[in-house]
Amino acid sequence: MGVIRSLICVAALSLLWLPGVVDAQSPQPPAQEEFVPLSDIPPEEQIPAFTLLASAYALVWLVLIGYVWSVSRRLHAVESELMALARKPPVPR
């Protein structure tokens, strides 16, 4: 009985290896052996570089201009408040 149980366990464990074995035996695409220049890649497989480059530069410009605008606006508001406070007559004690 013990021998049968051991055989079942071994058979079950061997099933775990099966997908790997099948996968290893299935035909694999030929390995790429050398560097493929960008110009040799078909157009449908290429990612447009210009779009990414333009997006990156536009993003940097937009964020930096937006930040300068934000700081200037906050600075203007605080300086206006300071000027208004300076114009206010002192509180009598």
């Binding site: 990612i47 480059l53 990156a56 940097v60 300068v68 700081v71 200037s72 300086e79 300071l82 509180v91």
Partner: protein, 219 residues
């Protein structure tokens, strides 16, 4: 706006306007082609991100030990700039990686630690905005932790396996590529200094307004 600020703004605007021509003059990198030119804005953004984090950490330390309000203003100004330049680094990097690596993002040591420092400074700003009294000291401690992570970001590419280029790339660049890179870095650095000056001035004016209201309350 002072004369020095105006002159600085004009110089920086001229440098940023000239940058596309300077970058265009740089030769193409042989394997990446056109997209590698993102590097000329990505790299200076990343350097300023790290410099700003160090500046914020140093002034936070000075504030914690010296208690000078001006140190806190400078730490806060640098923390906000760390967040802004960190965002630029983390946004331009994936645009380059999509083409160069085929993926937008990888969870390697450099990218993950950069994201972590960016989030630390994001938390710093949230703490300053909503933390209430005492948040200045808590956030100063956070900035120190943020600064302590900077050397790790810098050397991470040399110690862990990553797709990101190593630190040896910039010193080995030919003049035709290194020239435009340093031009862009100086433009970013001047911009950072100008923004620091504007941001510190904002904090100084805010402190004056607060002092005014406090004196009114006391009287």
């Amino acid at each position: 706006m002072s004369t020095l600020t105006t002159v600085g703004l004009v110089v920086i605007a001229a440098m940023f306007a000239a940058a596309p021509w300077v970058i265009n003059a740089a030769p193409y990198e042989s394997t990446m082609g056109l997209v590698y030119k993102i590097f000329f804005f990505h790299m200076p953004s990343a350097w300023i991100f790290l410099i700003a984090a160090i500046v914020s950490g140093v002034y936070s330390g000075m504030f914690l030990f010296g208690r000078k309000p001006s140190s806190d203003w400078k730490a806060l100004a640098a923390a906000e700039l760390t967040f802004v330049f960190g965002a630029l680094t983390l946004l331009t990097g994936p645009l380059w990686a999509r083409k160069a690596w085929g993926v937008w993002w990888v969870w390697d040591a450099r990218l993950t630690s950069s994201l972590l420092v960016w989030m630390i400074f994001g938390a710093y700003l949230l703490l300053r905005r909503y933390g209430g009294p005492g948040s200045d000291k808590l956030s100063a401690a956070m900035a120190l932790f943020g600064m302590a992570t900077v050397p790790f970001i810098f050397v991470s590419v040399n110690y862990w396996r990553t797709l990101h280029p190593q630190t040896s790339v910039v010193p080995s660049l030919p003049v035709s590529m290194g020239g435009p890179l340093w031009f862009c870095f100086i433009a970013f650095l001047l911009f950072f200094l100008l923004l620091m000056q504007m941001r510190v001035r904002l904090e100084r004016q805010r402190a004056l307004v607060e002092a005014h209201f406090l004196s009114e309350d006391e009287s």
